[in-house]
């Protein structure tokens, strides 16, 4: 079946199988910035924003979110024009292997949109579905705190 999605602000139409999950649809159609393959919603590497809400794309049925606004990591910044969160993760040593990073940053992005001044507990709670085996989370939390500062200084993005 044909399904249209709005990905990073751009309408894209794909041929999908009705039972496809969003992660596979994205990766098979030019969006390999979305990582992950646990297919149980438990590792968080596949996190995307669906209408601004972080969800695991591996357990999201693609047909359910047709016409929703989907945001992937490339939708918030790029190498030449990174989002303050991306810069903050880099600055604070929060990127080791980087495989969980896009998912974690998107989750943090959604958090800061909802709550521009989160407590440490708010940050830990928000990130609790994005497993990381490399960093032990502490530098990720510090990165989010730095991003809060950068966003306050530079205006919201």
């Amino acid at each position: 079946m044909k399904a249209a999605f709005i990905i990073n602000g751009k309408k894209e139409e794909f041929e999908i199988a009705p039972g496809d999950v969003l992660l596979d649809v994205l990766r098979n159609n030019g969006h390999n910035e979305v990582k992950g393959n646990c297919y149980m919603g438990t590792c968080g590497a596949c996190t995307v924003l669906i209408d601004g809400v972080p969800k695991a794309s591996c357990t999201t049925l693609a047909a359910q979110v047709a016409e929703a606004e989907i945001t992937t990591i490339t939708g918030i910044g790029s190498v030449l024009n990174p989002h303050p969160l991306q810069l903050a993760f880099v600055e604070k040593g929060a990127v080791q292997c980087g495989y969980c990073t896009p998912g974690a940053i998107l989750t943090a992005y959604a958090l800061l949109r909802k709550n521009p001044d989160p407590s440490e507990d708010d940050i830990k709670s928000a990130l609790d579905g994005n497993l990381c085996r490399c960093t032990g989370y502490i530098q990720q939390i510090e990165a989010v705190k730095l991003a809060v500062k950068l966003l306050k200084e530079g205006g919201n993005r």
Partner: protein, 770 residues
């Protein structure tokens, strides 16, 4: 200690921004036309002979290319362990075997045009088994009538296959019996560690294809590209020159990818079909079909004099190596070699170890590599000894730990599958680490106080550790550095950054030696065609060995630059030249020339040459990093739940190249260790099937499960390491089990003898029995 200009600062990790913006840099971010997909059939029996495989129905299905099994693949016995040649692991497996030895062992594979078709076809393959009796406990497997797991012709490197004994290690110094007799106090501690899995967030994946000249290119998530090349060549019986291995960005390894598991299969398919091939593990397969950590039973006996001086230490280790012997011998050797020298004051030392086959999923290399299991027992035995002696545990460590200038007979006696190398400690800040760590946690204020709040009680515990930096006289890395006309350099080296930041450390080392900004260092790594050799990412050898090679190459290049400058200046001696602001300076005459100008000259104008140098590095030493860990925990006496509150790690890793990246290694390994200590357990049915191969049921820490972590770095200058460095990759994962175990004892007065310290286990210990 000399201050560095570039090394020692928080240079931005060179690949971080690309990763944070989702660049397609991982193995699977690479898709080729007409790629074939491989899915595996796994054994439902723990021990069986494959009587027959009928793949005729599957092969008829449209889109199915072939079905692989022992019938049509090379029967070359090899080891999957990514180690230096000749590998100290048994050659006890073929790509596909005729016998299956655990539930999850590979039986056959379907190769098809899509994953979907492959998965569909799997169900059409009919396998008949002749089921054999199985054995799961190491002690049982050693017994007289136990089923023999490896009875095939031609296996090599197994100590006694009829007894399922992969390896037996015995090493002694002094007279152990006499040592115990002479001791005033003797304690014994047996500790059992569990099966655990590395859980890299990116699972194993390999892709292969033929290049334009018919060579096989393998793009794989690996820690050991050069070993992959050699072992795949061995298995496929083709020359090494026919294969190229490329390591892209890796989504975590922790030891699980120091293994050749998928590469030989994809390469075989490409070789046979001429088409690209892809194999990827699902999360479930990652748990039971890749590698795990060796569960071990470690019995430590320590004898000491009244004054606290250790007189005798013996360690007996029984290691369960599952269905195949990969890393079995070397991991058990590290149980002793990375622990016993720490307490070199004991003149009488004994290490005995047995590595045993069982019909369970296969352990391999996992961060810590045996030292973790050894310290789990040893550092708790030390606390037991301290109590019996009436000496504070911190004081007992201070009396007995190794110091600068000292050695231990274990260094020579216990290598990795061969004899080790004598070495003397040339940098050690343990005294300072212990002092600072104890102060930070509040040792004197809190130890023994059992501070209560409602039903919760607090305790603090500590442990000290050493590890190694590479394997001496075995591990080698090499690097080439070439100069470009803007004064930048390309570094081509075999070192394998698996997310740790090694490429960045290398840029800093080169920047330091050549006096250029690390942003002018372009690093290309781990491509067997394009870069010199490196043994790969294991044994905490990245900065020390790979960095050492890069350092040597940079030094050579610096000399070459000075020589070119001398010619340009028309001077006689370049001995005291320096580099300042990317210019080469002759202090006596005051003449200068920029690196950039020199390169323009030599590339285009006169005495044309490419300024480039290559160097290797192998070390005669493996200088240990040291760590002192202190943890404050809270035990809920009604539920048995253990919560770490504050964790202090004081670490001496030599000179620190990049403080933030170093801190990341320390924190990451501690959190992994805390998971191993408290919640991570692979669970098996009574038939040996792993029943929790997913994140829902195998619990690794999330962001809500972390204590406060304080990292204290104390720098030393290691004379045998490039720019004074040692290593930091593994050591800190060793702390949580013993430090938390010791803290639990402080809190509730009960000692546990196995990990993980689950709430039920702790509560049972508190209550005697429920």
């Amino acid at each position: 200690m000399k201050q560095y200009r570039c090394v020692g600062s928080n240079v931005r990790k060179i690949d971080a921004l690309g990763l944070a913006t989702g660049q397609p840099v991982f193995t699977d971010d690479f898709c080729l036309k007409d790629m074939l997909h491989i899915k595996f059939i796994y054994s439902p029996h723990p021990h069986a002979i494959i009587e027959d495989i009928d793949s005729s129905e599957a092969e008829k299905m449209p889109g199915v290319k072939m079905v692989l099994s022992y019938k049509n693949t090379p029967q070359v016995l090899h080891t999957t362990a990514g180690q230096g040649w000749p590998e100290p692991s048994p050659y006890d497996t073929c790509m596909f075997n005729k016998k299956v030895r655990y539930i999850g062992d590979r039986v056959a594979a379907v190769v098809a045009e899509s994953e979907e078709i492959a998965l569909e076809a799997l169900r059409q393959v009919k396998v008949t088994y002749n089921v054999l009796p199985a054995v799961f406990e190491a002690e049982e497997a050693l017994k007289e009538n136990a089923p023999v797991i490896h009875d095939e012709e031609g296996i090599q490197g197994v100590y006694d296959a009829k007894r399922n004994l992969v390896a037996h290690v015995e090493v002694r110094a002094g007279d152990i019996e006499k040592g115990f007799q002479e001791s005033d106090v003797v304690v014994e501690n047996t500790f059992e560690t569990q099966f655990a899995q590395h859980c890299p967030i990116e699972t194993h994946i390999a892709i292969s294809y033929l290049d334009e000249n018919g060579r096989i290119v393998i793009r794989t998530s690996t820690q050991v590209p050069f070993h992959v090349r050699r072992i795949v060549a061995q298995v496929l019986n083709v020359p090494v020159s026919r294969i190229r291995v490329i390591k892209p960005r890796i989504g975590g390894g922790f030891g699980s990818k120091q293994e050749i598991i998928l590469e030989e299969v994809v390469a075989f398919v490409t070789m046979k079909t001429g088409l690209p091939a892809r194999a990827i593990f699902s999360r479930e397969e990652e748990f039971y079909a890749s590698r795990t950590r060796h569960p071990m039973k470690v019995t430590v006996k320590i004898g000491a004099k009244k004054d606290g001086k250790l007189n005798a230490i013996s360690m007996y280790t029984l290691s369960n190596t599952g269905a195949y012997g990969t890393h079995g011998l070397t991991v058990i050797s590290n149980v002793g070699s990375k622990t016993l020298p720490l307490y070199n004051k004991a003149p009488n030392v004994e290490f005995v170890g047995d590595v045993v086959y069982t019909n369970l999923p296969v352990p391999g290399a996992y961060r810590g590599y045996g030292a973790t299991q050894g310290y789990a027992s040893l550092e708790q035995a030390m606390d037991m000894l301290a109590e019996k002696l009436g000496i504070d545990p911190v004081e007992l460590r201070k009396i007995n730990h190794i110091r600068e200038g000292e050695t231990s007979p274990i260094f020579k006696a216990l290598g990795e599958g061969r004899e080790g190398v004598t070495q003397y400690i040339q940098s050690c800040a343990l005294e300072k680490l212990i002092e600072l760590g104890a102060k930070e946690i509040g040792w004197l204020e809190k130890r023994g106080k059992q501070q209560k709040e409602g039903t919760k009680v607090r305790g603090i515990g500590m442990s000290i550790h050493m590890q190694g930096s590479g394997i001496p006289l075995v591990d080698m890395g090499a690097a080439s550095i070439k100069l470009n006309e803007d004064g930048s350099v390309n570094v081509l080296y075999g070192g394998t950054d698996i997310g740790t930041g090694l490429d960045t450390a290398v840029a800093q080392i080169v920047g330091e030696v050549l006096g250029i900004s690390p942003e002018k260092v372009i690093v290309y790594a781990a491509d067997t065609d394009m870069t010199p050799f490196d043994k790969g990412a294991y044994a905490s050898s990245g900065t020390f060995i790979s960095g050492g090679a890069v350092y040597n190459a940079a030094l050579k290049l610096r000399e070459t630059l000075f020589e070119e400058a001398r010619l340009s200046f028309g001077e006689i001696d370049s001995r005291d030249y320096t580099i300042e602001n990317e210019k080469i300076v002759s202090p006596v005459s005051g003449k200068t020339i920029s690196i950039s100008e020199l390169v323009y000259q030599t590339l285009y104008v006169r005495k044309h040459k490419q300024l480039m140098e290559t160097a290797s590095f192998v070390s005669e030493t493996s200088p240990p990093p040291f760590a002192a860990h202190f943890v404050e925990i809270e035990v809920d006496k009604e539920t048995g739940t253990v919560t770490p509150i504050t964790y202090v790690a004081a670490v001496d890793c030599g000179r620190v190249v990049n403080p933030e990246l170093t801190r990341g290694q320390i924190i990451g390994s501690i959190i992994n260790g805390i998971g191993y200590a408290l919640t991570e357990e692979c669970k098996f049915s009574d038939k040996g099937k792993m029943v929790n191969p997913n994140f829902m049921d195998y619990r690794i820490p999330s962001s809500r499960d972390i204590p406060e972590i304080k990292v204290i770095l104390v720098e030393t200058h290691e004379p045998t390491g490039p720019l004074g460095v040692k290593s930091v990759a593994e050591i800190n994962i060793n702390g949580p089990i013993p430090a938390i175990g010791n803290a639990i004892y402080d809190a509730i007065g009960v000692r546990l003898h196995s990990s993980a310290y689950t709430p039920e286990k702790v509560l049972k210990a508190i209550k005697g029995s429920i």
